[in-house]
Symmetry: C2
Subunit: 223 residues, 2 copies
């Protein structure tokens, strides 16, 4: 209960780091260890120990001096705070390459996301399924949404219809959009938009690779 109340007070930078600590803690737990110090976490994830301790203080876990955090408790607290243990139902819109791939990825369920149906404008996809998740024609969305009241829409439609699709979802009661399109969609402020532009990350990676290659040619100057 205390954990739940504290949840919204966690600043986003801390929230971004918590999954790293969770991954690290799960690994240690799987190896049969019982406790983990913020110094150990810090070393493994490459964050200052003081930052780790501060971040974990938001999770309402306190480490004991010399002993560190109780590992099973740390893992379960982190999972609770990150809401990975809950089931969040989602509809996916745009069963193309990336959309189909996300439906294939059962790993999402381990992080609390349950894609319960996919929708697409292509009639030939209606009635098919991917990874046992049904695919419907987009025209059936309002009817199914009335029955199911799904709060999360995963947006993997072509960029040209991203804005209008997002608006339609919101009109039907969707409260959060996980936007995989490279477009920045514009929605009312009380709708949550989480942008995950994996293609934009490619541009960052290419650019850093080129910078490293040039540094290499220059004998490391400028790095």
């Amino acid at each position: 209960m205390v954990v739940s109340q504290l949840r919204n007070m966690i600043p986003e930078p801390a929230l971004r780091r918590l999954p790293w600590y969770l991954a690290c803690a799960r690994l240690r737990l799987a190896k049969g260890e019982n406790s983990l110090s913020s110094t150990q976490i810090a070393r493994e994830v490459g964050v200052e120990a003081s930052v780790v301790a501060k971040d974990l203080s938001y999770v309402a876990v306190t480490g004991r001096t010399r002993v560190g955090y109780d590992l099973p408790a740390l893992v379960s607290h982190l999972e609770e705070v990150l809401q990975f243990g809950q089931v969040h139902r989602a509809f996916l819109f745009g069963v193309g390459n990336l959309g189909g791939a996300l439906m294939q990825d059962s790993g999402l369920r381990q992080f609390g996301l349950d894609i319960v149906a996919g929708f697409d404008a292509k009639y030939e996809l209606s009635g098919t399924s991917i990874n046992r998740i049904p695919v419907h024609h987009i025209s059936r969305f309002p009817e199914l949404q009335k029955q199911m009241g799904v709060k999360i829409g995963v947006l993997t439609v072509p960029v040209g219809v991203a804005q209008e699709t997002a608006e339609m979802l919101v009109a039907q009661g969707v409260r959060a959009i996980w936007n995989f399109t490279p477009l920045r969609i514009r929605l009312p402020e009380d709708v949550v938009v989480q942008n995950t532009s994996i293609y934009a990350h490619l541009a960052l990676m290419y650019n850093r690779m080129q910078a490293e290659a040039q540094d290499g040619l220059l004998g490391g100057y400028g790095s």
Copy 2:
């Protein structure tokens, strides 16, 4: 040539926004338009017009007053700077749910990433293929890497072997790791690590949804 030389001077925050402008510009171009102003881009992507103009100045494109940017030139300059038009060959490691999904995603090729083979420790996957991309046993990686000299490794292995796999890739000449695992891997500074923790984004989305739901109950206070 001027564009190429300028490329590494683009600050990362600008580089993160350029794909949004590209998406916007491609959309307008597809609609048959010929020019686009920074004000229009700003309105569509939700960024200040002065920021858009500044970002685009790095791309060595200058807009003409009242006319805006020449749209075909803007698109091709952005594609060049973001290196989406080049072919970057990559090996993928860990053909599980997410790895298999990424191999399915032909969309990556449109952004310059060509996954030429997948590797996995499971013997039963060797000799199979996904989306016409062959899957090999991980033990064949050094041999194939000698032949192909691939610079990019897409990392989708289980978190427990992420660090050791990344180190092995680097030992064999891989210069950039696109890390999809929730683990922060530690590598020499001259190796590019691009973290794309899509699961961590889920935690952010869940948290914001909860905050919005509470704001709603409180009649909007605190938002």
